[in-house]
C-alpha cells in the first residue's frame, strides 16, 4: 500500500533516528543485573547514555570499551577483555550485553570468535554471561538494534530443545516486545496475559527495570528486568508472541530453538489489533470467555471510539517514528478515519512499512516531517520530542511518541497499547484537536468585514 521513498540528498535536517546500538543498550537494560557495553569510542557511549538518561530520568549504567585510535588499528579484542574484567570487578553483573558501533564495525573484527576465546580462557569470570550484537550505527535504527540484541540474548542463553523431550509448561507464554513499547505498555500487556491465567516471560522487560521506581540500593547494573534464569526457561513456554513486526526474527529463532508455535502481532493499538491478541490469549488459555476486566476495557474502548471519532474522523496528521511505532499509531488512527498526510520513518528493514496507511513513506528526518506536514496541511504532528521545533515552526500541537521524550516527565508511563492504552491514545489525539478550537472569521468564507460605523468608539478591553 505504502510507497517507500528515499530522498536523495546529502543533508539531514533535524535527525529523527536514534542509533541501533542505543536500541541494543536499551534492550540489555531490560534484563536483570546487566551492563550494556558499547564496543566503540567513549564519546558515542556518553551521548547515548545522556540520551537515555534524559528520556528515562534514571541513572543508566552504560559502559564503553573506550576504543582509541591505536586500539582501533590494532583490534579491539583486548579492549573487550579488559572491559569485561573491569565490569565484573566493579559492578558484578550477571550479564554483559555488547553492542558494536560504526567504528568497530568499519574495521571488521571477528568479535564472536574473540569472545568465545576470552570466555573459555578466563575462568575467573565465573558464570558471567556475555552476549554480542552487531549493531553498526550506519545500518538500521533503534528498533533494529533492539531486535538484534534480543536475538543475541536468545541465541546465547536459550538452549536447543530436543522436540521429543520437550517438557512444556502450557500456561507459560513468551512475550517479545518491540523497542517502541514503553514500560507502562509492557506492563499492560503483562496484565492482559495474566488476566487469562497465563504466566508471561517478557524479554526484555523494561516494565520492571526502567519503569521509574526508586531502588533500595545503588548498583552499577540494570535495576530489574527479565530474570536471567527465566531466559533459558523460555524454551518451555507454550507459545511465543512477538509484539511488533521488528521482533519477528527474534521470535522465529526462539520458536525454532524450542519447537513451539509463535505469532507476531504487528501492533496492540486499535480495537482489531487488541482483539487479535485477546483471541490468541483465549486460545492459549483454552477458554471461550474473557475475564470481566478485559470485557469492560473493550466496552470502554468502543465508547471512546464513538466519542473521539468526531475529532479524529477526517483529521489530517503527520507522523515520524521508527516503523513499528508508525504502524501501531497510524493503523489505529486510520481505523477512526484519520489520514496520515505525511509519514517519515527511520529504517527500511521492517516489512511492516508496506502496511502503513499512507501513500508515501519517507525514509528521512524531521525536516521531511516539517515540510511534508506544511505541504499537505497536517493539523497535528506525532513524533518524539525533537519534533517540537517543527511543531513550533508550524504552530501545530505535537503528540509525543517514540524516543527521546526528554522535555516531558513520565515518558515511561505513556500507554497506548491494549484496550485501555488505545482508549487513552484516542482521547489524547482528540484532545489535541480540541486544544486548538478553530474560531471562524468572516474572511474564511469570503465575507466582507463589518461596517466601521457600528464599532464602539471607546476602548474596550478584550479579555480573551
Amino acid at each position: 500500500m505504502a510507497r517507500l521513498t528515499r530522498p536523495r540528498r546529502a543533508l539531514s535536517t533535524n535527525p529523527l533516528k536514534s542509533s541501533a546500538p542505543l536500541g541494543a543498550a536499551m534492550a540489555y537494560l531490560g534484563v536483570e543485573k546487566t551492563v550494556p557495553l558499547f564496543h566503540g569510542a567513549q564519546g558515542c557511549t556518553a551521548f547515548a547514555m545522556v540520551h537515555l538518561v534524559r528520556h528515562f530520568k534514571e541513572a543508566i549504567p552504560l559502559q564503553t570499551t573506550a576504543m582509541t585510535e591505536v586500539s582501533t588499528i590494532l583490534g579491539g579484542a583486548e579492549q573487550i577483555e579488559e572491559a569485561i574484567a573491569n565490569l565484573k570487578k566493579k559492578a558484578n553483573p550477571r550479564l554483559i550485553g555488547i553492542a558494536s558501533t560504526a567504528l568497530t564495525e568499519t574495521r571488521g573484527e571477528d568479535i564472536p570468535g574473540e569472545l568465545n576465546d576470552i570466555m573459555s580462557r578466563r575462568g575467573d569470570l565465573g558464570d558471567l554471561k556475555v552476549v554480542y550484537a552487531s549493531t553498526p550505527d550506519f545500518e538500521g535504527a533503534m528498533e533494529d538494534g533492539w531486535a538484534k540484541a534480543v536475538t543475541a540474548i536468545i541465541d546465547t542463553l536459550v538452549p536447543e530443545i530436543d522436540p521429543l523431550h520437550r517438557d512444556a509448561d502450557l500456561r507459560q507464554v513468551n512475550i517479545l516486545p518491540a523497542n517502541y513499547l514503553t514500560p507502562a505498555e509492557v506492563e499492560e500487556i503483562v496484565r492482559m496475559v495474566r488476566a487469562f491465567g497465563l504466566k508471561p516471560i517478557v524479554l526484555p522487560d523494561l516494565s520492571s527495570s526502567l519503569d521509574g521506581h526508586l531502588a533500595e540500593d545503588w548498583s552499577g547494573h540494570s535495576l530489574g528486568g527479565t530474570k536471567i534464569d527465566d531466559i533459558p526457561a523460555m524454551a518451555k513456554s507454550a507459545v511465543t508472541f512477538a509484539i511488533g513486526e521488528s521482533m519477528a526474527g527474534s521470535a522465529h529463532l526462539l520458536a525454532d530453538r524450542a519447537h513451539m508455535p509463535m505469532q507476531v502481532f504487528p501492533s496492540l493499538t486499535g480495537l482489531q489489533a487488541v482483539d487479535n491478541f485477546v483471541s490468541a490469549l483465549m486460545n492459549v488459555a483454552g477458554v471461550d470467555d474473557a475475564p470481566p476486566a478485559i470485557k469492560r476495557d473493550r466496552a470502554r474502548l468502543q465508547d471512546a471510539m464513538l466519542d473521539a471519532h468526531f475529532q479524529i474522523g477526517g483529521l489530517q496528521y503527520a507522523i515520524a517514528a521508527d516503523p513499528d511505532l508508525v504502524y501501531a499509531l497510524s493503523s489505529a488512527l486510520a481505523g477512526i478515519g484519520a489520514e496520515a498526510v505525511c509519514a517519515v520513518t527511520t529504517s527500511a528493514a521492517n516489512p511492516i512499512l508496506d502496511l502503513i496507511p499512507c501513500e508515501e513513506i519517507i525514509l528521512g528526518d524531521l525536516g521531511d516531517l516539517e515540510d511534508g506536514a506544511r505541504a499537505n496541511g497536517a493539523t497535528i504532528l506525532i513524533s518524539h520530542a525533537h519534533a517540537r521545533h517543527a511543531a513550533q515552526a508550524l504552530d501545530l500541537p505535537l503528540i509525543r511518541a517514540g524516543f527521546p521524550i526528554n522535555d516531558r516527565l513520565g515518558a515511561q508511563d505513556i500507554c497506548r497499547t491494549g484496550y485501555r492504552g488505545t482508549r487513552a491514545f484516542l482521547f489524547e489525539v482528540a484532545n489535541a484537536v480540541l486544544s486548538r478550537p478553530h474560531v471562524a472569521r468572516p474572511e474564511d468564507f469570503g465575507a466582507a468585514p463589518i461596517d466601521p460605523e457600528f464599532d464602539h468608539d471607546r476602548p474596550q478591553t478584550t479579555p480573551h
Binding site: L170, G197, M282, L306, G335, A447, D455
Partner: protein, 492 residues
Amino acid sequence: MSDALKQTVADAFNEPACATNRAKSASERKKGCAKPLTPGAAAGGCAFDGAKITLQPIVDVAHLVHAPLACEGNAWDNRGSASSGPMIYKTGFTTDMTELDIVMGQGEKKLYRAIKEIVEKHQPPAVFVYSTCVTSMIGDDINAVCKAATEAFGTPAIPVDVPGYAGSKNLGCKLGGEMMFRHVIGTVEPSYTTDYDINIMGDYNLSGELWQVKPLLDKLGIRILGSLAADARYKQVAMMHRAKINMLVCSHALQGLARKMEEKYGIPYFEGSFYGISDTSDSLRKICSMLIERGADPELMDRCEALIAEEEAKVWADLEPYRPKVQGRRVLLYTGGHKSWSVVSALQELGIEVVGTSVRKATDNDKAKVIEVMGNANHMYENMAPRDMYKTLKESGADILMSGARSQFVGLKARTPWIDVNQEKHEPYAGYMGMVDLVRAIDRSVNNPMWEDVRRPAPWEEERPFAGYRPRVKDRCPVSGFANDPTDFEDD
C-alpha cells in the same frame, strides 16, 4: 413574579402574528403556548437561558447576570456564536450572589457596583443586566438599578428582566427581543442609510454561519444594518429601526418583535432560511424583491438571479464528488422547526433517503412543507422519547442521525453516526457553501471505518474452534479466577 413581568409575559404570548395562537380561544391564549412542565420529565432551558441565547451574540456588550453563581457559572462559554471583533461577550460576568447578600438584601447595591466595575474596567458600549430566579424572587428591582447606573456612569445599562421561572427557553427568546424593543432599538441614528439596508433577526452566527451567507449579500451590495444578534455590535441593534426590511431567520421567537417593528417603524418582514440550496435562493430572491418594493433599483433582481444561477451551479458541482459516497444512505432528522424540511430536498437530490423528520416546534406551514417534500405524513415525528428514537434508528435502518446534542448519545449508543445540526455544533452549514460542509460531514461520519470496527463482535462472542490443547494447571489464577482445575482434564 412582578406585575410588570407578568404583563410582559402575557403580552408575549398574545402574539397576533402567530397562526397557532390565533387559532386558540381567548382563555387558552392566556395560558400561553408553554406546555406545563412535568416534574421528573422536564427538559430544556429556562427563560433566562433563552434570553441569553438571543442576546449574547451581541459581541461588544458586557452581559452581566444578576444571580448566585449557578445561572451563569454553569452556562457561560458554551455557545458557538462567533464574533469578527470584540470578545467581551464571551466573558462571564455575574454578581455571584452569596447567601449573605441575599439575607441582608444587598442585591441591588451589589448589582450597581458590579455595573460600575464593568464600565470602568472594560468601557463597553452597554451593559446588559439579566435578572434570574433568585434575584427576581427577593425583589431586586433591576429596572431601577439599571436606570440609576445609566445616569450615573453614562453607559447604557439595559435590564433584561427574564428570570428562569417565568417560563421556557422559547419564552426567554421572545422576552429578550422585547427588551431590545423597549430599551435599545431606535436609540442610535445611523450616519447614513441606503435602500439596501436590512436587518437579520433570529440568527446567532453559530460557528460563523452568517459569514457563509454574507458574501452573497456583499456581492449584491446589500448591507446588514442591524442584527439580532449574529456578530452584532450594540449600535447595530440600536439602529435597527432604520433598515428597509427585516429578515426573520428561522425563529418563531422573534416574530413578535418583527411585528412590532412593522407597526412602529413600518419595516416589513419575512421569514426565511439559509439552510439548504433552494431555501437560500428563495431567501435571496425575497430580500431583493422586498428591497425593490421599498425603493431599491429593480435591476437588483437581475443581479440576484445571475448570482443564484452561478452559485447553484457551483454548489452542485462541488457536491458531485460526494454523491457516490452518500448515495443510498438513510437519514433520520431530529431537529426543531424549519430545519425539518429545509435540508431535506437538497439531501434527497444527492440520493440520500430521509427516513423521517421530527416536527417539534414546527408550524403548520413547516408541516405542510415536510409532507410536500416527503410525500406523506408517515415520517413525521412529534416528540420522540430516547427509547423510541433508539428503536426507530434500529428499525428504520437509518445510517445517520442528524439532531441536536441531546440526542447524540442515543445515536452513538445505537452505533449510528450522528451529525450535530443544533446550537452547539462546531461546523457552519449555512448558505450554499454550508451545504457542501454538511454533506462533507455526512460523508466523513458515515464512511468512518470505525463503525465497522465497533460493530464487530468481541473475540468471546465468536465461534471458536477447540484450541487443541489445554493448559496443564494446578491452581486457580489469582487475577482472572479461571480455575482450570486439573480434575477437569483427567487425561492431562
